[in-house]
């Protein structure tokens, strides 16, 4: 159950819009651990810092490299992610750190749930909803969607495509960073510079499952993934022949491949 909540949080961590931000996610996942210290208040700080980083990454890396071809951007971002992790290690040391933020727990349907976790999940949902709404209702949101569908057409209509891209990158990474903050509510110990790796994978699985570009889809996919992972965990524990947490991760990878094979546009269409 706790795992389901975790993935509900993580879904926040991705996709301001489709294939574009997909690239930004690489670096983002490695970066987020840096902002993990105090809880909810930090979320705001994380958002701001993340946005700034996103913008920088955009103008520094993504825009100039887009001309040279996809490969270069991907590799550069990957390297950037690794670089950030290394710098983190330099600054903060490789050891695991963590904290508990205990504000009591609540009984729901016979299970004990920490309020902090519950709050985290609820906030994640709130963010997802607000993002989705703003994409649909506001002028800016609609510009984003226009650009995703037809960049040249959008330019002709007067939308500053470059700024839209920059802003999307900024928001995307900002959300990712916030996601990182929320994540810390769920893993009391285990923050270290290298924690990003598995989450990149998870993030992509969620993004692809939910359909790149669909925010609510991503949220739902996140929950779905959480459920699948929990189920997988139980199944393997019962079966007894395998190390359950590891197998659960393998399951996610297999899932990613399957989805990519059969339904690359994702399960939900929003």
């Amino acid at each position: 159950m706790g795992l389901s909540l975790i993935f509900g949080v993580l879904r926040v961590v991705n996709v301001a819009h489709g294939s574009f931000v997909m690239l930004g996610a690489y670096a983002a996942y490695f970066a987020f651990i840096l902002w993990a210290w105090p809880p909810f208040a930090t979320a705001l700080l994380a958002f701001a810092i993340g946005a700034l980083l996103g913008y920088l990454v955009y103008i520094g890396v993504i825009k100039p490299l887009n001309k040279a071809g996809e490969l270069n951007v991907l590799v550069a971002l990957f390297a950037l992610g690794a670089l950030i992790a290394e710098i983190a290690r330099l600054l903060w040391g490789p050891d695991f750190v963590g904290y508990r933020w205990n504000i009591g727990s609540v009984e729901v349907a016979g299970l004990q749930i920490d309020i902090s976790k519950l709050a985290g999940a609820v906030l994640a949902l709130a963010i997802a909803l607000s993002l989705d709404l703003s994409l649909r209702r506001t002028y800016f949101g609609r510009s984003i969607r226009a650009v995703v569908q037809d960049p040249v057409g959008a330019m002709v209509v007067g939308i500053n495509v470059d700024r839209v891209f920059a802003a999307s990158a900024a928001i995307g990474i900002a959300i990712t960073t916030v996601g990182g903050v929320f994540l810390t509510l769920f893993i009391p110990v285990g923050i270290n510079p290298y924690m990003g790796g598995p989450y990149t994978l998870i993030g992509f699985v969620i993004a692809v499952l939910g359909g790149l570009g669909s925010l609510l889809g991503a949220y739902t996919a996140g929950l779905l993934l959480g459920v699948i992972e929990s189920l997988g965990f139980y199944a393997f524990s019962v079966a007894g022949f395998a190390e359950p947490s590891e197998m659960a991760l393998f399951l996610e990878f297999a899932l990613l491949l399957l989805v990519l094979l059969f339904k690359p546009t994702g399960l939900f269409k929003l």
Binding site: V75, F78, A82, R89, L201, V205, A242, E243, F250
Partner: protein
């Protein structure tokens, strides 16, 4: 295209290893990076698709040999060729399965698929407790038993180095022959304009798969040589270490992606850089690696050989 310069350079390196056996370990390390870069080059350089899960092939190769040594000691010395074959076979199998699915996808989607490859395989091995699971394989004692102490040590030191050098040679040759033949034209077409290539009679998936599997098999060989033979142990955390893809990318991009000479040059420089860092700024190797890749991508995306080839037109024949 004349392969004389890159081939000659590499053979010279090999000769050096034999002539100066005290330095053979270092030279083997240089060769390791060259081979790594070349194997990555065969796929990433020729197709411009990024395989982030690359280290999985190193690992699988290592496991192949390791498993053979550990579980089939009755074969005696034959465990080596059989184990190597096993490692390469597994790598090929993995490449075929993943490739058949992932290579139908366009660039970015393919990259996503491969991101999970490394972690996925690692977790599978640890989780399902295959081949020693999380604890890995300790080959030392088995190797002593099977080969006898002296032979085992000989294999670990000299044999491993020799195998690494050999793998490097094979990689250079493979890269050259692919580049210079039909496949080279096909891959060039595919990476510059995949749709146009299709209309002209090229089946992109087939050629991508060719490059992918070749790259995988060579990596498997390298992994077996380095980990199982050289270090006498195979730990999942080590062999599936994500840094190796960065190393490979660094070597390849530094030298020049898509060229035969590139990884040779890149390997030399990269090794030198790491060596220096090891002396003056120890512990920062990984940082330097990712920094190198990052900077190269931004400022010198064609690598040294690539940029030279662009400036001076006829150079491509001699530095293919």
């Amino acid at each position: 295209m004349r392969p004389y310069i890159p081939l000659g350079a590499y053979l010279a390196l090999m000769a050096l290893a034999f002539a100066l056996p005290e330095y053979s370990k270092q030279i083997a390390s240089i060769a390791f990076y060259m081979a790594l870069g070349q194997a990555v080059n065969i796929f990433v350089g020729l197709t411009r698709y990024v395989n982030f899960g690359y280290a999985a092939f190193l690992g699988i190769g290592a496991y192949g040999l390791g498993a053979a040594i550990l579980y089939m000691p009755q074969l005696g010395i034959a465990t080596i060729p059989i184990g190597l074959a096993l490692g390469m076979g597994l790598a090929a199998l993995l490449a075929l399965t993943v490739g058949a699915i992932a290579l139908r996808l366009r660039g970015a989607y393919f990259a996503i698929a491969t991101i999970g490859l490394n972690e996925g395989i690692k977790h599978l091995i640890i989780g399902a407790n295959i081949w020693g699971g999380g604890a890995g394989l300790m080959l030392g004692s088995s190797m002593f038993k099977v080969y006898g102490r002296d032979l085992a040590l000989f294999l670990a030191n000299v044999g491993s180095a020799a195998l690494i050098l050999l793998t490097g040679l094979i990689s250079v040759l493979a890269m050259y022959f692919i580049q210079a033949g039909r496949a080279g034209y096909a891959l060039a077409a595919i990476r510059q304009d995949e749709d146009a290539a299709k209309v002209m009679g090229i089946n992109p998936t087939r050629y991508k798969l060719l490059a992918f599997v070749t790259s995988a098999v060579l990596s498997g060989l390298l992994g077996a040589a380095f980990f199982s033979l050289g270090n006498m142990q195979v730990f999942p955390e080590n062999v599936f270490f994500i840094d190796y893809i960065l190393d490979g990318l660094a070597v390849m991009f530094l030298g020049g992606a898509g060229t035969v000479t590139g990884p040779i040059v890149g390997g030399l420089i990269y090794y030198g850089a790491r060596y220096l860092v090891g002396i003056y700024l120890p512990g920062l190797q990984s940082l330097i690696t990712s920094l190198i890749v990052f900077l190269v991508m931004l400022f010198l995306p064609n690598g040294i050989v690539g940029t030279l080839n662009r400036r001076f037109e006829g150079l491509r024949t001699w530095l293919p």
